[in-house]
């Protein structure tokens, strides 16, 4: 076990944890728009950690450069997809959930059931 392997394992583990946290967020948050924010974690940092960990596995090879390219394409396309979703929802007339004073915390109104 050399240091690079350990680092790579840490990065991959962190990425996996963030993916799970993102999923928990999607389940816990009250409505479509807020869930989109939770999904943002999986879009960015989770992918970043995975790519970083895999790059350490490959070392300085062409495969690493390809991984970096994948990461860059993700950074360009993910926000576009998210924005398209959000705009579609807004034009479709979906009202954003707002916090009410009565049910502080997570109310049930906005939940799609």
């Amino acid at each position: 076990m050399d240091i690079v392997q350990v680092l790579s394992a840490i990065l991959l583990g962190l990425g996996a944890v963030l993916g799970v946290v993102g999923a928990i967020g999607i389940l816990r948050f009250p409505d479509f728009y807020t869930r989109m924010h939770a999904a943002g974690i999986t879009d960015t940092l989770c992918t970043g950690f995975f790519v970083g960990g895999l790059m350490l596995q490959f070392g300085l090879t062409l495969a690493s450069v390809k991984l970096l390219l994948i990461f860059m394409f993700m950074l360009f396309t993910c926000p576009t997809a998210t924005h398209a979703l959000a705009k579609a929802a807004r034009h479709g007339g979906l009202k954003p959930w707002v916090k009410t004073d009565a049910g502080a915390g997570l109310g049930n109104e906005g939940r799609a059931s």
Partner: protein
């Protein structure tokens, strides 16, 4: 002409990185395809400063590093929000005036805002952007406009 040279260089680099071939025959095939793509791009008249912002490559790299840092910070905040027992969720839609004049600048800013967890760009209209923010803190982040200031100024100079 400068942009054409740049395009040819980047295409060749991309071809080689993605294939990794070194045999003369395959490389010559690669050169032919690169030239063909450049020719088509030239005929479509899309080789210009907007599609190929050579003049700000270095500034863009600096901006990306800053953006990655911002993404990291807001991700940590997001994880805390998700895992906390009583999440601080107070969603709101805010309208913010932005300084970007060029189309490219607006796109870069809108994408950056969406990439940062906690805020999503809903609409860009004129010099206003409409942002859905998860809570007050992330809304303030957009209202202060630090990202807006950080978008490389030279994007604007051009158009």
């Amino acid at each position: 002409m400068k942009h054409m040279t740049g395009l040819l260089f980047f295409l060749a680099l991309l071809w080689w990185v993605l294939s990794g071939y070194t045999k003369p025959l395959l490389i010559s095939l690669g050169i032919v395809s690169v030239l063909f793509v450049a020719f088509v791009a030239h005929r479509m008249d899309v080789v210009d400063e907007e599609s190929h912002p050579l003049h700000l490559s270095m500034k863009l790299v600096r901006y990306w590093l800053y953006l990655l840092w911002e993404i990291g910070v807001s991700n940590v905040k997001m994880v805390v929000t998700i895992l906390s027992r009583n999440p601080d969720i107070d969603p709101r839609i805010i309208n913010v005036r932005i300084n970007q004049r060029s189309e490219l600048g607006k796109v870069v800013l809108g994408n950056s805002v969406t990439l940062t967890p906690g805020t999503v760009t809903l609409q860009v209209e004129g010099d206003m952007i409409e942002v859905h923010a998860l809570n007050e803190e992330s809304a303030e982040g957009v209202e202060q406009g630090t990202l807006d200031e950080r978008v490389p100024a030279s994007i604007e100079e051009k158009s």
